[in-house]
């Protein structure tokens, strides 16, 4: 099994996925390559507790859809982030709750339940309350695009691929998200948003 995996490892995601259609188990290579990254992205949006579940589900869904993988994309990154984003969409309220928790600042944990506190602590301390509050005010599509670019570091083309939207739309969503963060947050946000 190990020499087999090594061989698979040297090939592109696209060819691994193609191969996994006959040899389902080779799909675990995709899992090994991306679980950490997807987990981190989900954790940034839903907290680490929910990330275990949603990141795992991302790969189940990806496996089920592997026959529809677009082989023009050698890397599965954008595809996986797209699936994860879709699943995160089902937990929208949790995401907003996480940002609210962060916007309340780190000192007021008594408002949230114990589980939330544990899940949110790491991240709650790292995002400024203003930015966290600003994120809650964004339209979902705009937030998706913004976070795929700023957290997952996808290119506009990759975001377009991930969300199934035209590349031009990605640009306008990001611009709108930035503008909104800027106007709702005032001057302090200026640095936060523009500092790239």
């Amino acid at each position: 099994m190990i020499p087999n995996l090594r061989m698979v490892d040297e090939t592109t995601d696209a060819s691994v996925i193609a191969r996994s259609r006959h040899d389902p188990e080779s799909f675990s290579v995709i899992f090994d390559r991306y679980y950490g990254a997807i987990h981190r992205y989900v954790a940034a949006r839903l907290g680490t507790a929910a990330a275990d579940d949603v990141a795992a589900e991302t790969f189940l869904a990806a496996f089920d859809q592997r026959a529809r993988y677009d082989p023009a994309w050698p890397q599965a990154r954008a595809w996986l982030y797209g699936i994860a984003t879709n699943l995160i969409g089902r937990h929208r309220r949790d995401e907003i709750r996480l940002y609210r928790a962060m916007s309340r600042s780190a000192g007021r944990e008594e408002e949230a339940g114990h589980a939330d506190r544990v899940a949110d602590r790491v991240s709650a301390e790292r995002l400024s309350p203003e930015l966290a509050r600003g994120l809650t005010a964004l339209a979902k599509g705009d937030r998706d695009a913004l976070l795929l670019v700023s957290c997952a570091q996808l290119s506009y083309a990759e975001v377009a691929h991930a969300l199934g939207i035209p590349a031009g739309t990605v640009g306008s969503r990001i611009n709108r998200a930035r503008r909104k963060l800027r106007t709702t947050l005032g001057p302090t946000a200026e640095e936060v948003v523009n500092h790239e």
């Binding site: 899992f31 859809q65 879709n86 500092h195």
Partner: protein
Amino acid sequence: MNELRERHDALPEPSPESVAKARARLLAHMAEPARSRRRPVFPLWGAGLAGGIAAAVLVVGVLRPVTATDPPRERPDAASASSRSTAPSLPMTPSRSTAPSQPATPSRSTAPSRATELQLRTVANAQDLAHNAAALAAAEDDPAPSPHQWAYVKSRNVQTRVDGGEWPTGSPKTTSVHEVWRRADDKRWALMEDGKLKIYNESEFEMSYPLLLSLPPDPDALLGRVNEVIKAEQDRHRAERLARLTQELGDERKARKAVENEPTLSDDYRNTWAFQFIAQGMAETVLPAKLRAAMYGAIARIPGVKYENRASDLAGRKGVTLYRIHTGYLREEVFIAPKTYAYLGFRTIVIRDHDVNGDKGKKGEIRNWGAQLEAAIVDKPGRRP
């Protein structure tokens, strides 16, 4: 965005337990029979067409590119009657337009004059359409490609959802043009990417080209053969499932019982598959006119298939449509040129809201939409008609 990125990057790695648990879930999921998974995978052609593979309508395993300068192999049957030293475009070529966004008129010149001598019916239904296409094709000298010739297909496709986003609706926003060469024996295929020709070995199209070329050029026989292939495919999947279950349960009798208790495919599903088998085969290949006419005829014979005197061709050409509504909500269309009966393209669109057993759709979603802009047999990859 610095703050967002920094916080994201500072998040801890998933714990080893998290990785192990997720990995175990994935492995268990892989081992489950496809039927019980949340989202069923169509084992064969259904996935490609219904699922919206847009890129050149290819489902390929990209393995070991070989250099484009590889000397082309000699055709072993260079003396056979059907082989040609030049690269004539087949009469089925829908268009020679290089500006595919413009409505293009089919380029064949021989058919219309010949058509006047033929017994063509006024087309009012799918059977008439197939009849006329067959009559026209009968007058064509249009041999099949020899095994080492290449089918050149240039297509325009709508970018459909890969996943995670919404399906496009309305008129297409993002389209892309692909040029693909596929050798008739399916041993190699090639792709033009950023102006460079990439040749690949071991293509893995869903529909085998040799199989398509071997289909009988008679509608009834053709449909019969397609149904046989579908049956064989189902049997193969059942056998695989049985082997997997036997291994899991460690008891062949139990496994066999479980597999036997699984519901068999409904007629609607079988008909959906037959339609998709033929429709996808047409989209990805260049086929002799007689065979294609027989395919129209076979499609016309599939229960539920209807004819419409208009078409939503992505390249804006005039056309007619053969369509079928799968599972009550998914309308799958094949577009055909009204005079030449050339193949134009396809579209799959959701016609009503649907949510049954994880099979979901919202009215207006475009699942797949593509136009074949050029199709011809050539002698080498990279050549155009």
